[in-house]
Amino acid sequence: MSYDFDQLYQEFSARIYKLCLSYSGNQLFADDLHQETWIAVWNSLPKFRNESKIGTWIYRIAINTCLVGLKKEKNKDQNSETILSKLIYEETFDNSNEINRLYECISKLKESDRIIITLVLEEKPYEEIAEITGITENNLRVKIHRIKKELQEIYTNYGRI
């Protein structure tokens, strides 16, 4: 079964973008990560062998892009451009302040935790999260329980520090 890139983009880009936003907590970085992911999908699509679901496969690319992509960006953090982009993001991005707050809170978690919790919020079954992340289901259950608690704490304490 072969897939049409445009169709995949239409179907998955919003979800992948949400993953990039919650991973980076910043629109500028998220834009970069999102574009990097789709370039990788474009280049790897001819090699897709239907060994997993196409969604699982795209999520893996996105996660791997986020994991190695943000290191470079961290060094640039807090320069004027970033601060400006954050302001624009806070002012104009999305119609809800609460979701922006949630993205930012998720980005304060450990890297793997950001990914896992985003997949949970996307309502992916544990089996699929395990397949995407390569973590065993049992281990995943323990982790998810802990991450949920941690996220609630961060969200509650948001803005207090």
């Binding site: 919003a14 892009t65 190695v68 979701i99 992340t133 390569g134």
Partner: protein, 197 residues
């Protein structure tokens, strides 16, 4: 937000729009491809340099085409080709990194690549300097064999002093800096990988 369920509802309601698809997506390179291209371009430049040296050699006046001159220039061209081969090999290693694997495996691939880079820098520099010193020595001797011995000695002293300074001071300092940078990257990749166990 008392319950996790509230986060789930908020997530579902969020109308986050993804950026529109870039129409030139087939022509844009991602970071991995850019890194690979740096090596490929470097290799091409080195191959062109090597070929240029050989072309120059064949176009030399017959009087200058002595065995030592030919030997030294061939050594320099060979160094260029070897270096180019190494760069192509490195580019191949980068292109083999598979972004569709599990995060742990993918991070391991990057760790292996960075370790390879670190090892390669350590043996690459001495070999490069050794060949370059031999080639330059032969070349200088042949060029200056008819001048006053003190002038020849002076030329050798200046050339090799600079090379020793470049190798033992500048080169080692650079290696140390690069090692620290690569160690930092490897440690970070390892700590990320450990999160997926």
């Amino acid at each position: 937000m008392e319950e996790f369920k509230d986060f789930e509802n908020l997530w579902k309601k969020a109308e986050t729009k993804a950026p529109t698809k870039n129409t030139n997506i087939s022509t844009i390179k991602n970071n991995r491809m850019k890194l690979k291209n740096t090596y490929t371009k470097g290799a091409i430049l080195l191959i062109i340099t090597g070929i240029f040296i050989l072309v120059l050699l064949f176009n030399f006046d017959a009087r200058i085409q002595t065995t030592p001159i030919i030997t030294s220039m061939v050594i320099i061209a060979a160094v260029c080709f070897l270096q180019a081969f190494l760069m192509i090999f490195t580019a191949e290693k980068i292109s083999k990194i598979d972004e569709t694997q599990t995060p742990s495996f993918h991070l391991k691939q990057w760790q292996n690549f960075r370790s390879f880079q670190k090892k390669q820098r350590h043996w690459n520099m001495p070999v490069y300097y050794l060949f370059l010193s031999i080639a330059l020595g032969i070349y200088l001797y042949e060029l200056l064999k008819n001048v006053d011995p003190w002038k020849m000695i002076l030329a050798f002293v200046i050339t090799y002093s600079w090379m020793l300074f470049a190798y033992f001071y500048l080169g080692k300092r650079e290696i140390k800096k690069q090692d620290a940078k690569l160690d930092g990257i490897i440690t970070e990749l390892k700590s990320l990988e450990n999160q997926f166990h």
